[in-house]
Symmetry: C2
Subunit: 342 residues, 2 copies
């Protein structure tokens, strides 16, 4: 029997519908015995309340959405997984929504909130440069996770991330400390306004601190529409870099995936890692530990980031907390893909 309603239960139990409702929703004003009896009957009848009706009544669905830009980025997989788990624990429905690279995530969010009456949103990936007025239309609290935000944050906007610029600087300085002076970098598109930009900035900062001039011929920007933080792009970009002929003794790829693609390109070109060229990544994905050679990287505490994102969102939803902004510390993992300059 699938089309069971609260009325059927009420009838079976010989009580009113409101009593059944009270039993289900832990209302105080109900006789414990009646409640017991009703709950037993519900279980027996295998009755499950119609979520749509609940939401219609509540005018506010017990649901959040996770909007992911670039879901193919494996770095997000674990993030999404943990987020779903957190939502589940709170008995929230989690709606996963991809956002195409060229789509406006805010439009998608706005639409989704109205349509689904969401209580909150978590944005993953992409940049986030939207006009204030439009941002103000987003009536539910939201968390920017792993996203660079330029403007001052709004009242209902929390954020979680590592300090990409600082961490990137840390990595670059590590390479500098190894004696490298000609450090190539694989980075996002030139127009990037997101973490790609920050990581590049960190690189520049480290160079300038050490009095080394920034050399554009060492910078390899993603340029094709198809370029992502992927193995393939890392490979393609590195080959492109090698063709330039500009010498370098270290290559800083701004993601582990890029780094791995880079290693392949270098190896194919007869360049040994790390003997002839050090390679460093970013993110701290598992594969970096198992790759051969192990990839030196900055580990982002993924689980912590995911949990914090969920926590901040639910805090805002429930206790109307003022939104927090958490910055996690990245960890420099030195492995065998980097070594002293020879």
């Amino acid at each position: 029997m699938s089309g069971m309603t609260i009325k059927d239960i009420a009838r079976r139990c010989k009580v009113g519908v409101s009593t059944v409702s009270r039993a289900m929703n832990n209302h105080p004003d109900i006789n414990p015995e009646t409640k017991e009896m009703i709950l037993r009957e519900i279980k027996k009848a295998n009755y499950v309340p119609n979520n749509s009706a609940q939401n219609l009544k509540r005018a506010d669905a017990k649901a959040i959405a996770v909007l992911v830009k670039g879901i193919d980025n494996t770095f997000f997989s674990e993030l999404v997984s943990v987020l779903e788990k957190c939502a589940h624990e709170k008995k929230y429905t989690c709606i996963l929504q991809r956002v195409d690279e060229m789509e406006d995530e805010l439009d998608v969010a706005l639409q989704l909130v109205r349509e689904k009456k969401l209580r909150g949103i978590i944005f993953l990936g992409g940049s986030f440069s939207h006009p204030k007025e439009k941002l103000a239309e987003l009536s539910v609290p939201y968390v920017l996770s792993t996203i660079y935000v330029d403007a001052e944050k709004q009242g209902n906007c929390a954020s979680v991330a590592v300090d990409d610029e600082k961490e990137s600087c840390k990595m670059t300085e590590y390479l500098l400390d190894l004696g490298h002076r000609d450090i190539a970098i694989l980075t996002a598109r030139r127009e990037d306004e997101s973490i790609g930009k920050l990581r590049l900035l960190g690189y520049q900062q480290a160079l300038s601190r050490h009095g080394i001039p920034f050399d554009e011929s060492l910078v390899c920007y993603m340029d094709e529409k198809t370029d992502r933080y992927s193995f393939r792009s890392g490979y393609r970009l590195t080959r492109q870099l090698l063709e330039r002929g500009r010498k370098f003794t270290a290559l800083y790829a701004t993601s582990d995936t890029l780094a791995i693609g880079a290693c392949k390109a270098l190896t194919e070109a007869g360049i040994r890692v790390p003997e002839d060229c050090s390679v460093a990544g970013f993110d701290g994905m598992d594969i970096g530990e198992y790759y051969n050679p192990g990839i030196t990287t900055i580990r982002q505490p993924v689980e912590k980031i995911a949990e914090a994102s969920a926590r901040l969102l639910f805090d805002m939803i429930k206790k109307k907390n003022k939104p927090g902004h958490e910055i996690f510390e990245g960890e420099l993992l030195v492995r065998s893909s980097t070594g002293e300059k020879r």
Copy 2:
């Protein structure tokens, strides 16, 4: 203005609510001009229908769910991504739900269908041995994607997969053809009733065809609760295997992730891949192409599998097609992690 309803639009347009409804739902009985006008107004007012109300009325939400067992398995990431995209194209909502390893996915599905009035489900991962009667309770069509099914399929159950046993046999025969006789295998738990079992079966079949006795001391089963198709488990299992002292010249890991973990363990033990030991994987994940050495593997056509899953589901939902069962051909990708026995 967020609390906009169909009535507000009707008022603004000076028409009845049903006319607005007709305009939105492409009903035939409506004056094209009126429709134009209403749609324009809707856009201008930024009105989005309340999905819960629609669903309540329709008694059938325009939504499907993807239930994933072991979402951390990166192999599923792309699958999920493509599925979401397909659903989106059909204007369907896609609900993502993890299922814990120990949870009963059918229970979860049953609950979800009633609660959300789903139109269909796609199951990913895990085994699927459920009593017929319980399976019959699942009133909506569903697709088993990348899942081994023992029992005859029900009337509303489609399936998509590669023939794991055959493909596994193919891989094993490839190793045999290279001259290997002592082929170790990394496989799922001994009690596994899913693809793990099939892949082991394919291995055994190939051996027996070549008149080579099956040797338990070459089989390494996952045993810990924490074991998965992960790099870590591949590493752990291989070390365990090496401790046994049983010699082998090839190692067949039943997933690329396991294979990569295995390579690390072997390398650390001073065993060169492929010179001293060939290593083969399964799945055809991108990383296998970029790993050093490149991992010989069986490529599953992930995109095709995902698209077929979506297609079969929507066919069943819409045209009440009889459920299809598609088997895709895997592709043996020979890379540098395997070589002739020396």
